[in-house]
Assembly symmetry: C2
Homo-oligomer: 245 residues x 2
């Protein structure tokens, strides 16, 4: 399983993913699910992947190959030189379509699931911060003011806190805390989501990463946040009005 | 969809269910999912149902018919005269089996899902408070000290708070608050779970219901709890240590 969450607020973008994958309960591994691409000062993009790992790795390979090719032939279109974030989402969607077309029927013949989804979040100079969710069919939706966050993978455990906190006006600081708390709840309730975590934060109009870091299981800041949240929930719960009698 | 949660702590049993059912997004209705049975002073039992409504209503009809028949012929075994709660769970499981046997294949031929699950919680004189989860196949598991609560239906949104709060030593008061908070989170995140709610509380060795009530949408106590919890979460969130810089 996987849990990835991306938030678009007025101040910018926050992306967080876990690193656990499993093919059955007895085949657990660790794979990075967040990937960053940037032309510092011009654009910064984070991709996060869930679903069939061979499909998403294939998509990532296609995107990377195009970027390499464009160094030799600048005519090759890539997510780093395309005119808009919307076009970048299309390029990722096209790569998804190509991978699904190549492998989906044979994967399904084996009784496995080929579904995958990808979040792409970023900003290019001249545009606004954008966040898209790309489906297996290559189609995609964009986060709006009404729905300023997307989750892929095991999304339910960590959704209530996002529903309560995330609005378009939420600060980047609070959005970062909220995704970390959301991940903390998910880690507690689902064994197939696991540390370490990959966090990226893109501040509006910086066209670079403010944060691009791996949070290991022994990270003191994350542990402090997790313990503080536990204590706050416990205290809040204790202070609730009585309901019996 | 449905959300039912039942808790077994040292002090007794707490059961809470919503009332919304849906056959597709455009066919929403309200059905009671909690049903109580008692011989005051001897036993008190709550059943909660999720899944295919025709199946669970059929199970309930079989249990009710047996109770009626036993008034004429005391030899007829029912959940109200059987020797143990374990046997009561078996009786419910047998009724589930009978209903699945009668309709499952034709339901599935129509492309619908016949799965259902039932929680049965109660205590009879001479026994301990017991909580069982009965599956579609009629088999069942019992809640233990390690896992003192069961959820059926839309369980994920409301699980984190239960994971944090519910232990065998949790008071009946706190267990009641916890299931209400768990339901509140679920109501916020899933439209197919809806008010009103049915709450029952069985105190250990009372062999009767301490609480057996319907909580309507305008219930002031529940609204106060919901608002207090929102405020506590917001306050707890605001007080979290900073993570950026």
């Amino acid at each position: 399983m996987t849990y990835c969450v991306a938030v678009r607020v007025d101040q910018g973008l926050v992306m967080l993913s876990d690193t656990r994958t499993n093919a059955g309960m007895d085949n657990i591994a660790r794979f990075r699910k967040s990937f960053t691409y940037s032309v510092p000062g011009e654009r910064a993009i984070t991709l996060m992947c869930s679903g069939n790992l061979s499909i998403t790795q294939g998509v990532k390979a296609m995107l990377g190959r195009a970027i390499k090719d464009s160094a030799i032939d600048p005519e090759v279109e890539t997510i780093l030189n395309c005119p808009t974030m919307h076009r970048a989402a299309q390029i990722v969607g096209d790569a998804m379509c190509a991978m699904q077309g190549r492998y989906r029927s044979t994967i399904e013949m084996q009784g496995a699931a080929a579904d995958a989804s990808i979040l792409i979040a970023g900003q290019r100079k001249g545009g606004k911060p954008r966040l898209y969710l790309i489906y297996s069919a290559g189609n995609f939706i964009e986060a709006t003011e009404d729905t300023p966050f997307f989750q892929i993978g095991e999304h339910k455990y960590g959704k209530p806190i996002l529903d309560r906190i995330i609005k378009r006006g939420t600060s980047l600081e609070d959005a970062t805390k909220a995704v970390l708390v959301s991940m903390d709840s998910t880690l507690r309730s689902n064994l197939s989501v696991g540390m370490p975590l990959d966090l990226t934060v893109i501040e509006r109009d910086a066209f670079d990463f403010r944060v691009r870091t791996r949070i290991e299981a022994d990270n003191e800041e994350f542990q402090l946040l997790s313990h503080s949240w536990s204590a706050a929930l416990r205290k809040g719960f204790e202070d609730l009005p009585n309901v019996l009698d």
